[in-house]
């Protein structure tokens, strides 16, 4: 999950996968999103070095790669904590107390949106609708969804994470 750029770039298995993705589409550059997903799953984020590597592979401007990485919220260009908390910021959740929940989380962990705790345990983000609008406020920790989360429940939930 957390290889360094250099480790990744000398990983034969990874390079083989990249080659395969390149050939998967009629036009090489269509493989961009798939490659970004692959890299993020290997490294946990997509470093600038990796963005440059992909640019070279697909003969695109590195800025173009960065543009795509920074456009999609599920791509990260900086290392994130071991666990990622995503708090829904769309209207129904906000009406159901999402704002208070977010403030609580932020104070509790001592980080603002987009930041990571100094022990590297938590990264806090907001996202648009998690598709649980009837059960707000909703949050997601890594791949697990939690609904109708109250501040107190949140404190309980995070005890299970290390």
């Amino acid at each position: 999950m957390t290889k360094s750029s250099n480790e990744l770039l000398s990983d034969r298995e990874f390079l083989r996968k990249i080659e395969k993705l390149k050939k998967l589409y009629p036009e090489e550059k269509s493989a961009l999103l798939a490659m970004l997903h692959l890299c993020q799953s290997e490294m946990g984020y997509i470093s600038l070095e990796i963005q440059e590597f992909i640019a070279k592979e697909l003969k695109l401007s590195p800025a173009h790669i960065k543009g795509v990485v920074t456009f999609y919220e599920m791509f990260f260009d900086k290392p994130k904590g071991r666990n990622l908390i995503q708090v829904c910021r769309t209207l129904p959740c906000m009406l159901a107390g999402g704002e208070i929940l977010f403030e609580h989380i932020s104070t509790k962990l001592g980080i603002k949106e987009g930041q990571t705790t100094s022990d590297g345990k938590w990264t806090l983000m907001t996202v648009e609708c998690l598709a649980c609008c009837d059960k707000g406020p909703a949050i997601m920790i890594n791949d697990t969804l939690y609904t109708r989360v109250s501040p107190r429940e949140f404190d309980e939930i995070i005890k299970d994470y290390r």
Partner: protein, 932 residues
């Protein structure tokens, strides 16, 4: 159409229109190419307008004189339709339509300034201003900013913020590029810069990062300088606001400066530039939106002219007294020259004097220079550095076609179906032509074949790259012809009707089978065959070449082979097809045209032809010499042998540009009397007995002839510093002092004289050149000029095939000197660097010389990227810096020649092509080692 609602402007909901909604919405789906051309009628603001189908509402309105505001639209770029300030009402359409992106439809009714439209524009602009850093008070763009102008026209009050301020929260100013600066707080996300870099420049470097209010653009992923941006400034010119701005400048705003159009002084593309001047200082340069560059320039043209403001410019004449150059008056300097030249003439005869004219100064000045040498001094010893670049083109193409210049125009390249580039690193030497080539490939599907030993930038856009061994050009070209003939792809009709000598050609190329060619050139037979097929079969094929073809002992042979290839396939004498040697310096074409050559009078009229001589004797009123003069290298030899005693050099720097420099220096030191006319104290001027300060190209009037034979105007942008004078006035003074009276009121008068004596320039006069210049041949005052050459008939009548066999280069690698050395130019510098190395931004890009060496060799030799390296040949050695790159093949080294402190020409071979007398700059055997 007359029954528009009497209430005035129509609102879609309350009118029955004459056009059904179906008709008006249909064209929104996009243009139907088949329909373009048919003229239709539409109505805009009550005015009937007739336009071809496929026109947008915006263009239609413009043709009717109706102004619609725009921001993201730019006439050179594809439509983005993202800013919405151009929205108009289209009768029957549900919503407002963007005029820039909506094609017209029959009977469309459009209103451009209804209250609804006005309200919409105001809202859009207010929204833009809400996220805009409105510091117009201190912004460089004020007065030229399209957003500011629009806000002004709409009377927007920024204080009554209609929307809450929502500025970009990301870091604001990126000033990492040597030439430009990006301020995201002034960016309106119109994407004009992105499209300019991608569509016009064909580079596609810039992209938009982040999202919503944080959207910003960037070229690199860390900052601007981290990218492949080469500073051409196309994006800066395209930006409507102050977001992208030029970095280097004294701070000046448009209303404080005045704009003068002139021609670029750097390369042979001849870009038209708009130079902004304030208080006799150059403050800004923009590409003029006219042929040949249509607004584009390269980094040198736009940001490299700051040398004009340099304090090192020569300002007074100087005479060497007691071994040192000392300031003198013009009278003293001119009479010193007259005295010494007369003395040498008297003691050793006319041929003891020689002149080096210049590809950097105007046609008029070159004409007067050769006239002075021929008429006032009485010798044909006049040459200039074209000898060192395209003498073989002039010789070869004259033999094959009858005239040696680009057969086609630059603009035609964009529509050629196949372009073969060989021996030209176009991206670096003719940057704006490279953008045309890239556009051809990216936008029009042109097939690009690159044949070059180096992995030049254009290889990235090429369909096919053939990497030949240095100096084997005749072999691969013969090989291509072998394939073409054996596959029956040659153009029989063309060969029969337009050429002679085909049988001899057929015989010689027979033995150049792809397999045997592979052995000589190392080009895989398969690739050669494919290249031959693409080139021969394409509807139109254009060959572009440059010094990689000409600077060889077999330079003329190489050129002849290229001519053979074009004639064999009939790819010449028609639009988009031909043979196109790219001329290097700004006026190298013109200097040749007007006779700065030892064997030709102006217009390639032979010195040895008695009738011609008589014509010039009559016009100039003196007896002339019928003996061909000496070429540059021969002059140097003659000086060493003591045959030439006096040398006049105008705007050239042989101390850096000529091959085998040790020899050149020895010769120059040996001259009895050396005069140098220049704008800076060049390496050559430092050796002179008299130095005369010249006005630069921006400080005088005259003409250059660019590489596509276009005679273009120079205008006086600045006043010359100190006592510096235009070269033509200096030459007049010298000539008159020598007893041959020479007097002209202006450059236009000189051009009239050229026209009267030079058939190809017969109709060329300054008053005709104001807008776009004229491409020669232009025989008379009514002739519009010639876009492409050899239509229906070659200049010499029939085109002539010259069978040429392969001869290996003069020097081949051996045990002692195992590497192949080639030399050449780079984007950021120009010729011997007298101008470009005084430019601050150009030096920020590249400040020192270097040697490109393949990473494998770097490793093998124990060198280090960025470390020192010693390169030596039989003739000399230089120490320079290693640049490890796969651009060069293993076993090869490339050294740019602009740098006097590590002069590549210490190393180069002055072995000459037997016909054109051009030296072999492109192949020498060298040794590469770590300095001890």
């Amino acid at each position: 159409m007359a029954d528009t609602d009497s209430k005035g402007p129509n609102y879609p909901e309350n009118v029955k229109t004459t056009t059904s909604p179906k008709e008006t919405t249909e064209p929104l789906k996009g243009k139907n190419p088949g329909d373009i051309g048919a003229t239709i009628r539409i109505q805009i603001d009550g005015i009937d307008v007739k336009v071809p189908l496929g026109t947008t509402i915006l263009e239609a309105a413009k043709s009717a004189g109706i102004k619609i505001p725009v921001l993201c639209y730019h006439p050179k770029l594809k439509i983005a339709g993202n800013c919405r300030v151009c929205c108009v009402e289209v009768q029957g359409a549900r919503t407002l339509q963007p005029a820039c992106a909506t094609p017209v439809a029959p009977n469309m009714v459009v209103w451009t300034s209804t209250p609804k439209v006005k309200q919409s524009i105001k809202t859009v602009v207010n929204l833009l201003l809400a996220s805009h850093n409105c510091d117009c008070l201190v912004c460089d763009a004020a007065g030229a900013c399209e957003l500011q102008n629009l806000a002004y026209e709409l009377g927007i009050d920024v204080r009554s913020r209609q929307f809450p301020i929502s500025c970009n929260t990301l870091p604001e100013i990126d000033s990492s590029s040597p030439v430009l600066q990006y301020d995201s707080s002034k960016c309106i996300q119109c994407t004009r810069c992105i499209r300019a870099c991608s569509e016009v420049q064909g580079k596609g470097i810039i992209a938009a990062l982040h999202r919503s209010k944080n959207v910003m653009i960037s070229a690199g992923i860390r900052n601007w300088s981290d990218s492949r941006c080469d500073g051409c400034g196309e994006c800066v010119q395209a930006c409507p606001t102050g977001a992208l701005s030029q970095k280097v400048s004294p701070k000046v705003r448009v209303w404080e400066a005045r704009k003068v159009r002139t021609s670029c002084s750097y390369c042979g593309v001849g870009c038209q530039l708009d130079m902004w001047v304030s208080e006799n200082k150059l403050v800004k340069v923009e590409g003029a939106d006219i042929v040949p560059n249509y607004g584009s320039t390269c980094v040198k043209g736009r940001y490299g002219h700051d040398f004009l403001n340099s304090s090192e410019r020569l300002k007074t004449p100087m005479i060497r007294r007691n071994g040192v150059l000392q300031e003198a008056t013009w009278e003293e300097a001119i009479s010193e020259i007259a005295f010494k030249i007369k003395k040498i003439k008297g003691e050793h005869g006319n041929d003891a004097i020689a002149g080096l004219s210049s590809a950097r100064v105007t046609n008029e000045e070159n004409y007067l220079f050769q006239k002075t040498i021929r008429a006032a001094i009485g010798t044909n010893n006049v040459d200039h550095c074209a000898r060192l670049c395209h003498a073989s083109t002039v010789a070869g193409l004259a033999q094959a076609f009858g005239s040696g210049a680009m057969t086609n125009s630059i603009a035609e390249l964009e529509h050629a179906k196949c372009i073969l580039v060989t021996g030209s690193n176009t991206t670096e030497t003719h940057p704006v032509i490279a953008t045309v080539i890239r556009r051809a490939v990216r936008e029009h599907g042109t097939k690009l074949i690159v044949v070059d030993p180096r992995r030049i930038d254009l290889v990235n856009n090429a369909t096919l790259w053939l990497r030949q061994k240095n100096g084997t050009d005749v072999a691969w070209i013969n090989g291509m012809m072998n394939v073409i003939i054996s596959e029956n792809l040659h153009n029989r009709t063309f060969i029969e009707q337009r050429t002679e000598g085909f049988e001899e050609l057929r015989k010689i190329v027979e033995k150049f089978t792809p397999e045997s060619v592979e052995e000589i050139t190392h080009i895989p037979a398969r690739d050669l065959i494919e290249a031959a097929r693409i080139y021969a079969k394409a509807e139109s094929s254009s060959i572009i070449y440059s010094m990689g073809i000409t600077q060889h002992t077999t330079g003329t042979d190489n050129v002849l082979s290229i001519a053979n290839l074009a004639m064999l396939t009939g790819q010449i004498g028609k639009p988009f097809s031909g043979v196109n040697p790219l001329r290097g310096q700004n006026n190298v074409q013109g200097a040749c045209d007007v006779g700065a050559l030892p064997n030709f009078y102006p217009g390639y009229q032979k010195v040895s032809d008695t009738l011609i001589k008589e014509k010039f004797e009559k016009a100039w009123g003196v007896k002339l010499s019928s003996k061909d003069g000496l070429t540059i290298i021969e002059m140097m030899n003659a000086i060493e042998e003591g045959k030439i005693k006096g040398l006049i050099v105008m705007g050239e720097n042989p101390m850096v540009s000529d091959p085998n420099l040790k020899h050149v220096e020895k010769a120059l030191r040996k001259t009895e009397f050396l005069v140098v006319i220049d704008i800076f104290m060049s390496e050559t001027a430092a050796l002179a007995d008299v130095v005369l300060p010249a006005a630069s190209f921006a400080e005088k009037e005259g003409t250059f002839t660019n590489t596509e034979r276009r005679v273009i105007l120079l205008r006086e942008v600045l006043k010359a510093p100190g006592q510096a004078k235009p070269d033509w006035q200096i030459i007049c003074d010298i000539s008159s002092a020598l007893g041959y009276e020479m007097k002209y009121h202006n450059a236009a008068e000189i051009m009239d004289e050229i026209a009267s004596l030079t058939p190809i320039y017969g109709g060329i006069h300054h008053y005709r050149l104001q807008e776009k210049g004229i491409q020669w041949p232009c025989p008379n005052d009514d002739h519009p000029g010639t876009v492409y050459l050899h239509k229906d008939k070659f200049s010499r009548g029939l085109g002539k095939f010259h069978p040429v066999d392969f001869i290996p280069p003069d020097e081949i690698p051996n045990e002692e000197y195992p590497f192949i050395l080639s030399t050449g130019r780079i984007l950021f510098h120009y010729h011997t660097g007298t101008m470009s190395r005084k430019s601050v931004p150009l030096n920020e890009y590249v400040a020192t010389g270097y040697a490109e060496i393949h990473p494998d060799d770097v490793k093998k030799l124990g060198l280090e990227d960025g470390g020192k390296v010693l390169i030596s040949t039989k003739r000399g050695k230089i120490e320079t810096i290693v640049k490890s790159t796969e651009k060069v093949a293993p076993g090869s080294v490339f050294v740019p020649f602009h740098f006097a402190e590590a002069p590549a020409n210490m190393l180069t071979n002055d072995a000459l092509d037997p016909i054109a007398r051009i030296p072999e700059y492109k192949v020498a055997a060298c040794k590469v080692e770590k300095p001890h």
